[in-house]
């Protein structure tokens, strides 16, 4: 089209089209706009547009047209590369560069686009031996040495464009070439170009840093080069890493960057860039260093520079994060041996500097909190430094002994100081020393400090252990002091109340300050004394153990026990109180806090107390009990006498403390039922006490435990006021306790107290004649809900040694629960709860159940599903705007089915071993219901309900795909039997999951394909719907592996699927390969691909479903992807 018309006409046409595109929306119609866009698109596609583009660039005055001309050149060069004379490419490149140089006033976006075209040409040429574009660096070098800021800026833009193009990242232009091409260019560039760019950059930086004064224009050039240096240092290297050649010049570079830092501190953007450069340099590692001594001297240089930099200045807000990043990188990346090889003076200065910096950032962070700043830069910097301390201290054995003790004390002290109120501390003090005290509204979503600051607290706790000699006694004395003051303050308030009895007149400021102090002291104590590992038995930290052992000779055990056993008394009033074990004394201090709290509740001062402090106390006691209570001596090399005497098995101390904790729990549950979180933490403490058999044995000997059980069973106040989740956990604890060691009479009695009332009440209620009528009454509903919650709690308490009795107990309920489905069909929340009971039972118990028991459960579940399905037909759900929780029932049903299926993976049952003596001689051939029946029935319900809209809810989507993958894997033989529409929607779901969901789900779907294909192979029937579906999947998987840029994690799953599909559809596979090959124009690529495909299947010809062959195929596939994977994938 363009060729037919003259150049000037083309320009006119383009310029008027540009006018249309640039016009405001109201001025032009959509058709006009579309037409204008079309003009440009077809212009860019026109053949050999070079002459006309040059002409446009030289004559047109419309920026947008210039921009399009540059784009057209870039696209056409790549498109017509092979046809073009190399000399004309070179001249084109020169033309573009000169063009930009001669027009300093070009619009920025036009200039950048032209330079991009230059960069693309250079990149395309880099792999072409017949053309040499390396002169570009020489040319840029000349531009830089011109000394003209404008020209230097241009040079910087060229280098930036080159970096973006070669980085093969998201910044790289799409030019329709294979990923392999992009990768090769990048590799080549890493070897040479990158280094040249860096050297050029350094030259500029060096030159600028030598100058005394920089004017505005020069400093802007400076900043651009600094950003460029940053980009180079952050280069994402493809292996192998060629930065080696950079090594020698690193020291020089470091020096220069640091020099530059001085010049530019006033400009915070620039300071930011240079700090980032330094952080990159501080993480230098690997083959950059020829040997260890080079690494040491580099580090020494780095540290020296850093120290002189930090010590000489007052750090600005904007620099804190940058500096902490440098230190954190340095500590994380350099091996310990290199750190310790530093001259000891230097190392000491570094540690001292780090200490001061940490304390100072900590104080500034506290200030930020007071001012409630949005941007918490010091907090971020402080977090980074504390994390670095943790790294250092964890490797303590590599460093000189005790070298961290003094720093630890300082950092610990400053942390405590920042968190205590005046006069001991500086909490809430703003710069001018005025304390601010504002009460803000805190919603339930806000995390508790113990989670919000868990990283900080872990570090501080660790430092506290390092300096245990100082920190444990410090915490103890501070806490004892606060508790004494709290006690006094509460007493005074009580007297005040007796006089005025108006709670509103109480000044809470003093109390709140004490609560906040105690809050932090308990949190730090908890993190110092114990860890909270998930799923492991927590051990007493070795530092704490050693500390206790070291002082055990000076300790008077009896006084220690006396301090422990008298939480109601002031510690300092006990004679000889300074000869007590400090670890026990710290626990005692928390118990004293707890005691003051409990007494206040008994004196009806609950309203004055802090629920937050209540949470802190039970949180601490739980963490402590997990680690110290009934300490198991076998787990330790050596054990502290005081600790084993006070908390060991069969000690009075342990018994006393269990009793005390139990009282605490019971008191809390009745006093704090209105504080959900506190009640929750409290019941968690109770669960901790009974979940270990040894502890439970002591618990059940306490009378209060039995009272608690009775009280809960009678469902009377105050326990029935607790939230449902607390009631559930309480039930769980009571059941767990029932499996402690008791004689058989006692045991029988216990269950009669705990479980039987539940059953009795329930049966009495539902067997009433008028149950149908009264069922909707609030009181009845509440009773039902409470029972269902309790059942969930019972299921949660399942362990291998109690499953037999719990299963029988729960089974009796399940059928009645199904009856309730009908009764409560119009209260979704009750329906959900009923399903949840089944979910929990299946989740916790099915893995232990033998064949007959499983079958019973399957039957019950099947009936549940039948009723659910019937009710569901008449159930109205709100429209498309529905929230996720509207579909809770669906989610639960899927969860139930998945749990039932999980038996096929995890099965601990040993032919009803755990049920020995219970059911003998039920022949297995009698089986009536199988897992497959239940699950497929369930799928029949679920599939029609799952729409694409519902898959947008992540929880539903994940659960759904987990379920259908399980089914395909476990019951592939059932899939062909599905009704046609269900089968279709299942297949559609798989395709959808594979192609347009997250990689996790895509992987699940791929995993589902192999069993389906194997199923087809087994049947040997062609033209079944499943057979046809798998043929479609073959193409999908083939395309995914060969043509698309896929996640490498999926190669294995996709490979396995592909292999089984290939086995099944060999002819179709060959056809796919043929089609792909025949579409290749390039003979070389054709050959490479053909060879690769041959190699891929060589080890498995003819493909059979045999494990060995499959493994061989997967291995070849890996090679295949590495060799030609990038060839067909185009960017």
């Amino acid at each position: 089209m363009m060729a037919a018309v003259g150049a000037s006409e083309v320009i006119t046409q383009l310029e008027s089209a540009a006018k249309v595109l640039m016009a405001p929306p109201s001025m032009v119609s959509a058709e006009q706009r579309q037409h204008a866009e079309h003009v440009f698109l077809s212009f860019r596609k026109s053949k050999s547009p070079f002459a006309i583009c040059k002409h446009i660039l030289e004559t047109s005055k419309v920026d947008y047209v210039l921009f399009q001309a540059a784009t057209a050149i870039m696209e056409a060069v790549v498109r017509e590369w092979i046809l073009l004379e190399k000399t004309s490419i070179e001249s084109l490149r020169t033309f573009l560069l000169t063009y930009v140089l001669q027009r300093p006033n070009l619009q920025k976006y036009v200039r950048e686009q032209i330079l991009l075209a230059v960069a693309v040409i250079v990149k395309r040429a880099s792999l072409d031996k017949s053309i040499n574009c390396k002169s570009i660096f020489h040319e840029v070098g000349q531009l830089i040495s011109s000394g003209n800021p404008t020209v230097q800026t241009l040079a910087c833009s060229i280098l930036t464009a080159l970096l973006s193009e070669f980085s093969s990242s998201s910044k790289t232009s799409s030019i329709g070439l294979s990923m392999e091409f992009h990768g090769s260019c990048k590799r080549l560039f890493q070897e040479e170009g990158l280094r040249q760019i860096f050297m050029l950059t350094m030259e500029v930086l060096q030159e600028f840093s030598r100058r005394e004064n920089l004017n505005a224009q020069m400093s802007s050039v400076f900043q651009r080069y600094l950003a460029l240096a940053n980009q180079v240092l952050s280069w994402n290297f493809l292996p192998p890493n060629y930065i080696l050649s950079l090594g020698q010049s690193l020291l020089l570079i470091l020096l220069r960057i640091k020099q530059s830092f001085w010049k530019i501190r006033e400009d915070s953007d620039m300071a930011q860039d240079s700090l980032q450069c330094l952080a990159q340099l501080a993480s230098m590692h690997g083959p950059v260093f020829p040997d260890e001594s080079a690494q040491v001297s580099y580090l020494a240089h780095l540290v020296e520079g850093l120290l002189s930099m930090i010590n000489g200045i007052e750090i600005e807000d904007s620099e804190a994060v940058g500096i902490s990043n440098i230190i954190s990188n340095l500590i994380t990346m350099f091996p310990r041996s290199i750190l310790t090889a530093l001259p000891s003076d230097l190392f000491t200065s570094f540690i001292n500097c780090l200490t001061l910096l940490t304390c100072s950032f900590g104080r500034s962070a506290a200030l930020e909190e007071v001012l409630d700043k949005d941007d918490m830069v010091y907090m971020e910097a402080y977090d980074k430094l504390l994390e670095s301390w943790l790294t250092l201290v964890q490797d303590e054995e590599h460093f000189p002994r005790g070298c961290f003790v003094q720093p630890a004390i300082q950092v610990f002290n400053s942390y405590i100081q920042c968190h205590l109120a005046a006069p001991d501390g500086t909490r809430n003090l703003s710069v001018n020393g005025i304390s601010s005290h504002e009460e803000e509204e805190i919603n339930e979503l806000q995390e508790d400090d113990r989670e919000l600051f868990s990283d900080q607290l872990s570090s501080i706790g660790m430092l506290g252990r390092v300096a245990a000699d100082h920190c444990i006694p410090l915490l103890t004395s501070l806490l004892e002091d606060r508790v004494t003051r709290l006690h006094g303050q509460l007493q005074r308030t009580q007297q005040h109340l007796m006089a005025s009895s108006d709670l509103g007149s109480v000044d809470r400021k003093v109390l709140d300050d004490l609560y906040e102090d105690i809050h932090w002291l308990i949190l730090v104590s908890g993190y110092l004394l114990a860890d909270d590992p998930q799923g492991e038995t927590p051990l007493i930290p070795s530092e704490v153990m050693e500390f206790s052992i070291k002082h055990s000779t000076e300790v008077d055990i009896n006084t220690t026990l006396q301090i422990l056993g008298s939480p109601g008394e002031k510690a300092s009033s006990i004679p000889g109180c300074n000869r007590t074990d400090s670890v026990i004394r710290l626990l005692s201090a928390v118990l004293r806090t707890s005691e003051v709290e409990s007494r206040a509740t008994r004196a009806s001062l609950t309203e004055l107390l802090s629920p937050q402090m209540g949470k802190d106390i039970v949180w601490f006691l739980r963490r402590w009990a997990k680690t110290y209570l009934l300490v198991d001596e076998k787990l330790y090399e050596q054990i502290s006498m005081p600790l084993s005497t006070a908390f060991g098995a069969d000690t009075e101390g342990a018994q006393w403390i269990v009793g005390y904790l139990l009282e605490k729990v019971i008191n809390n549950l009745s006093v704090w039922s209105s504080e959900a979180e506190l009640a929750n933490d409290t019941v968690e403490l109770l669960v901790t006490l009974v979940e270990k058999r040894e502890r439970a044995n002591i618990v059940v000997q306490c009378e209060s435990w039995w009272n608690l059980a009775k009280q809960f069973a009678s469902r009377s106040p105050p326990l029935h006021l607790l939230s449902s989740s607390v009631q559930r956990s309480l039930m769980k604890a009571l059941v767990l306790g029932g499996f402690a060691h008791m004689d058989s009479d006692t045991k029988q009695q216990y269950w009669a107290e705990v479980l039987h009332p539940l059953q009795q009440r329930f049966l009495n209620l539902i067997n009433q004649e008028n149950f149908a009528q009264i069922s909707q009454e609030e009181a009845v509903k509440q009773e039902i809900v409470a029972t269902l919650e309790a059942l969930c709690g019972i299921a949660e308490a399942t362990q291998i040694d109690n499953v037999a009795s719990l299963f029988s107990f729960l089974m009796d309920f399940l059928s009645s629960c199904i009856g309730l489905m009908e009764v409560y069909s119009n209260t979704p929340e009750t329906i959900n709860l009923i399903i949840e009971v089944f979910v929990e039972v299946a989740h916790k118990q099915i893995c232990y159940l033998g064949e007959t028991k499983s079958m019973k459960l399957y039957e019950a579940c099947l009936t549940l599903l039948q009723v659910y399905s019937k009710n569901n037909q008449s159930r109205k759900r709100s429209d498309a705007t529905a929230e996720e929780d509207q579909y809770q029932d669906l989610l639960l049903i899927m969860e139930l089915l998945t749990n039932l299926l999980s038996k096929e993976f995890i099965d601990f049952s040993d032919t009803d071993e755990v049920f020995r003596n219970q059911d003998q001689g039920t022949p297995a051939s009698n089986r009536t219901v199988s897992a497959a029946d239940v699950v497929l029935y369930g799928v029949n319900i679920v599939l029609p309900l799952m729409s694409q809209d519902l898959l947008k809810f992540p929880s539903l989507c994940n659960q759904y795909y987990k379920l259908i993958t399980f089914i395909c894997e476990i019951f592939p033989e059932k899939i062909p039997q599905l009704p046609e529409d269900l089968f279709k929607s299942l297949m559609f779901s798989l395709e959808l999951g594979m192609t347009s969901m997250s990689s996790e789900i895509s992987q699940l779907c791929l995993e589902a394909l192999s069993p389906l294909a194997e199923q087809c192979a087994k049947n040997q029937e062609k033209d079944t719907p499943l057979f046809i579906a798998t043929r479609h999947f073959l193409k999908l998987v083939f395309d995914m592996l060969v043509l698309q840029k896929h996640n490498t994690e999926m190669t294995v799953a996709a490979g396995e699927a592909l292999y089984t599909l290939v086995c099944l559809h060999q002819a179709e596979y060959s056809e796919l390969v043929e089609t792909l090959l025949s579409s290749q124009r390039d003979a070389v690529i054709y050959q490479r691909l053909a060879d690769a495909f041959n190699k891929l299947t060589a080890s498995s010809t003819p493909p059979t479903m045999d494990r060995k062959q499959k493994v061989a195929f997967l291995k070849s596939l890996e090679e295949f992807v590495a060799n030609v994977g990038g060839l067909l994938c185009v960017k």
Binding site: E439, D512, Q760, E777
Partner: protein, 177 residues
């Protein structure tokens, strides 16, 4: 068993209009009295003033009769009134002078309930007009429902809520499905 405190049989005889419950024990989808009106709780959240403050519960409820929205915030230790709500299903047997004729379980007919205002009222009227005179039968007892002729979708069940001395029809659905 010691079930003295649990006597469901006497459910409605002499039951008070409301009973107290600690605020924290209320649940979403449950009922509560807000601003003197019986409400279904549609939203419930807690907050506290200051880190050491006590929990306060923020409640949003919908009046079960008028559909109006009410909100309240109160300390979680407070007792709130929970309405005793009765839900009854009657068979609709006629409409006279703006009043519904409803057949009770006992066989008696009550005619003291007005047709509700608004869309529901219109729906009841039009559905009733489409129907005809209908055999008297109760719906809860299963034996009598089998006596109904299932092919005639002309029987309607009216759901009536009773709370705090107020009563209103809140729904209509066809019987005999």
């Amino acid at each position: 068993m010691a079930d003295a405190d649990l006597d469901f049989q006497t459910g409605d005889a002499g039951a008070s209009a409301t009973y107290p419950m600690q605020c924290s024990a209320l649940r979403k989808n449950g009922f509560v009295v807000l601003k003197g009106r019986p409400c279904k709780i549609v939203e419930m959240s807690t907050s506290k003033t200051g880190k050491h403050g006590h929990a306060k519960v923020h409640l949003v409820g919908i009046d079960i009769f008028s559909g109006k929205k009410y909100e309240d915030i109160c300390p979680s230790t407070h007792n709130m009134d929970v309405p005793n709500i009765k839900r009854m299903d009657y068979q609709l047997i006629g409409i006279q002078d703006g009043y519904l004729s409803l057949l009770q379980d006992s066989g008696e007919v009550r005619e003291d309930l007005k047709i509700p205002e608004g869309d529901l009222g219109k729906e009841i009227e039009s559905k009733h007009e489409a129907g005809e005179e209908i055999l008297v039968s109760t719906l809860i007892s299963p034996s009598s429902s089998s006596a109904l002729c299932p092919e005639r979708p002309l029987l309607f069940q009216i759901t009536v809520l009773n709370a705090m001395d107020e009563e209103a029809a809140i729904g209509i659905k066809a019987l005999g499905k």
